[in-house]
Symmetry: C2
Subunit: 116 residues, 2 copies
């Protein structure tokens, strides 16, 4: 399909990256439209170097990519890791419902319609 599951290491990085308010806000910003590092830097009450570090954390997590354009670095969001993280939540929900063990059966027995 669109994306594989996150490896544990990727999950570590993605969740860590999202565990900071400034970084979540940066992700929202660039999801709404790309932005340069310096433009992001102007949005937050901290030094540019601090914002650079936040962007680097997001980059390591695969949540954003940087592209050079002249003397600017343009930051863009990548939805894939977010989607994979969301899948992890779905997996947990399935676990909670006790469905996980049957998921294999669902795939193995497509003719039978397990009710509910």
């Amino acid at each position: 399909m669109v994306a594989d599951q996150l490896t544990p290491e990727q999950a570590d990085r993605v969740f860590h990256a999202l565990a900071d308010r400034t970084r979540r806000d940066i992700v929202r910003s660039v999801l709404g439209g790309e932005a340069s590092v310096s433009a992001l830097g102007r949005q937050y009450p901290m030094s540019l170097a601090a914002v650079q570090k936040h962007v680097a954390v997001l980059e390591r997590a695969g949540l954003v990519t940087k592209t050079r354009r002249g003397r600017e670095q343009i930051v863009r969001a990548d939805l894939d890791p977010l989607r994979r993280a969301a899948q992890l939540f779905e997996h947990l929900e399935a676990l909670w419902r006790g469905r996980v063990d049957r998921m294999g059966e669902l795939l193995a027995e497509p003719q039978k319609g397990p009710s509910r």
Copy 2:
């Protein structure tokens, strides 16, 4: 509405709690069925005190609750924060699609004054 949105502080705690492999595994364990702290402690190659700390982190994030039963503390999962976190991902998806429009105000985490 089943659940309110996570506050920024709650989001910090939830994502931080999930940014550790052992803690994600503990959540999976207790989603599959409750467990005592000592039973969890036996599952991981670290001291019981370390596992206690992990459980405490999950508890602060609201992801699990502890109930006393005799001399044991039973750990159970709470799905609500997980669902709210999943909603945050849906919000990001919506943002990406440019659908947000005014919804943004409802969900925005005020970091600083309305820039621009």
